[in-house]
């Protein structure tokens, strides 16, 4: 797609052609959906969460449908950050889209080392995943207290030369405290929300459907929670916020922007329709034209609360 200035957004100094980003964990490293459309159609891709060393992931079943959504407990299966840098990044960096590396780990040092390895690469931004609910030591222990969030953000910030976006967990009492903590720790941007922890049980076998017992809920069912949390966070911090959680239509995207997001991520909707991100982008542009909105940033935070 040719550059359309109406849709371009700047997040922490990084220019995105449009505000539609594929969400981490739903788009791999881009190769599969890259068979269907040029990845340059997207503003960016948040890659599958990567860790310092390869991770095998959880045993199956890892996914199940729920009303209006799905549960997943993939467990951060990934080939490790060096494999990402050597095997995926050279190809990805030629696709004409912004690349966000999503990083996770078990220790603060893991996160810092992973971020350092990305310093000299073509990655445009690092997304700090401190909110994966599906592995015992997948970082969520850093994401559910303000001290934890601030501590890991500060530690990674010191050693990461890329713009740093912290992805927040919704599984907390007050997400604004986590947002403020990430801001204090030196984050350049925030993304929210990760999945909400959920569970389903097979009533015949009495077994949880997901082998991990619990999994992360995503899809349209979580949209209202995500909108609310983005709105609350945007009222408390100055950092740019990338909104995600259940966005599946352009109307959802507009809502998320109005709640305060500068850009949005599309995840689970891609499973329903692989072309969802493109349709959302096109619908957004059409809406803007109809409403006389000249830049997508005019929508950001445009909600008129009662």
């Amino acid at each position: 797609m040719e550059k359309n200035n109406k849709l371009s957004v700047n997040i922490a100094g990084v220019e995105f052609n449009n505000p539609i980003i594929a969400a981490s964990g739903t788009f791999g490293f881009g190769r599969e959906y890259g068979e269907l459309y040029p990845l340059s159609e997207l503003g960016g891709i948040s890659c599958k969460g990567t860790t310092l060393k390869e991770r095998p992931g959880n045993p199956p079943p890892r996914v199940t449908e729920t009303p209006g959504g799905m549960l997943n407990a993939v467990g951060l299966q990934n080939p490790g950050v060096e494999h990402f840098i050597n095997e995926d990044l050279p190809w990805l960096s030629k696709q004409g889209t912004r690349i966000i590396a999503n990083i996770a780990g078990s220790t603060v040092e893991d996160y810092c080392r992973t971020a350092e390895l990305l310093n000299g690469t073509a990655v445009d931004m690092v997304e700090l995943n401190i909110s994966c609910p599906n592995v015992k030591e997948g970082g969520v222990q850093f994401g559910v207290t303000a001290e934890g969030v601030e501590g890991i953000t500060r530690a990674v910030r010191e050693r990461c030369k890329k713009p740093l976006m912290v992805k927040l967990s919704p599984n907390v009492t007050d997400i604004t405290e986590m947002a403020i903590a990430a801001e204090s720790g030196g984050a350049d941007a925030l993304s929210l929300i990760n999945t909400l922890t959920g569970m389903r049980i097979d009533i015949n076998s009495r077994r949880p459907i997901i082998r991990n017992n619990t999994g992360g809920l995503s899809g349209p069912a979580v949209l209202p929670v995500a909108i609310r949390m983005v709105w609350q966070v945007c009222n408390k911090v100055k950092l740019p916020v990338v909104g995600l959680g259940g966005i599946s239509t352009w109307q959802d995207a507009v809502e998320m922007l109005l709640a305060g997001a500068v850009a949005i991520q599309v995840g689970t909707a891609i499973f329903t329709d692989p072309y969802a991100p493109i349709k959302i982008r096109d619908g957004l542009l059409e809406f803007m034209d109809k409403k006389g909105v000249k830049s997508v940033s005019e929508l950001t935070g445009g909600v008129r609360p009662w």
Binding site: G28, P59, P61, Q77, P220, F271, T272, P274
Partner: protein, 252 residues
């Protein structure tokens, strides 16, 4: 050319083959041109977040045939589609069976695992023996279709109400074959794998798993594999399979 894509496909024919088992033929020239036996489709049921993975039963010049079982709410809604309706299909996906018409092939199918083997029998041009198992006479499907491919067809039922009473693998006694391909429930796949092992022929098994994206992006449909050097790892049914060489599977 895209190796797979999503399309609105016109349903041309729909019928219930046996209680709860439906037979759909859809018009989809572009997707049919790409498809190979053993691959599958992700079918959208409006109102549902995840598509339904359904194996391709048979590949026509401009059509795909799907024979599926009502398993839950999604497939129940799908079963109510009528000729003329449009269905959103993402296909063809995954790796199918490695077909060699020069090799006599034993096809081992059980229940709703039988349909994907029909396309294999067609591609083999009759150089196949199909041993097909069902719970009882009322649930026997596709017997004539298999016979029409020229394959030798032997049927087993659990209760003996039709054909041989017992296991499908019993039917393979005395049959010569150079390769085995199977799709069906776990115990049947184990039996088929053991049979291939006894005969010293390569075996290919088609698996299923709860699935989300269907294309290899989300890593949801994990299956434990070995790489031949003893290293174990999780592969994925949607992209690495659904058909696997049996010696790559950690367990069946």
């Amino acid at each position: 050319m895209k190796p797979f894509d999503s399309r609105q496909c016109k349903l041309l024919a729909a019928r219930e083959l046996s209680p709860g088992i439906f037979d759909f033929t859809v018009s989809c020239p572009e997707l049919a041109a790409l498809a190979a036996p053993g691959q599958f489709a992700q079918i959208l049921v409006p109102g549902h977040t995840l598509r339904r993975p359904i194996s391709i039963c048979s590949i026509g010049r401009e059509t795909l045939r799907f024979v599926f079982q009502v398993r839950g709410e999604g497939t129940e809604k799908l079963s109510r589609y009528r000729p003329g309706d449009d269905i959103d299909i993402l296909a063809p996906l995954g790796k199918g069976f490695p077909i060699d018409p020069n090799k006599r092939t034993l096809l081992v199918g059980g229940g709703i695992g039988v349909p994907p083997l029909l396309g294999v029998a067609e591609a083999l041009g009759g150089n196949a023996v199909a041993v097909l198992g069902f719970r009882n006479r009322d649930l026997v499907i596709l017997e004539e279709d298999f016979k029409n491919t020229g394959a030798k067809v032997l049927i087993a039922t659990d209760d003996g109400s039709y054909g041989h009473k017992g296991l499908v693998t019993d039917l393979a006694t005395g049959e010569d074959f150079q390769v085995l391909m199977a799709c069906g429930p776990g115990p049947m796949l184990r039996g088929a794998g053991a049979l291939a092992g006894e005969r010293g022929v390569p075996g290919y098994l088609s698996l299923e798993q709860r699935m989300a994206c269907g294309v290899g992006a989300c890593l949801g449909c994990a299956v434990a594999l070995t790489d031949g050097e003893g290293r174990e790892y999780f592969g994925h049914v949607c992209k690495d399979g659904p058909v696997f060489p049996m010696d790559r599977l950690k367990e069946v």
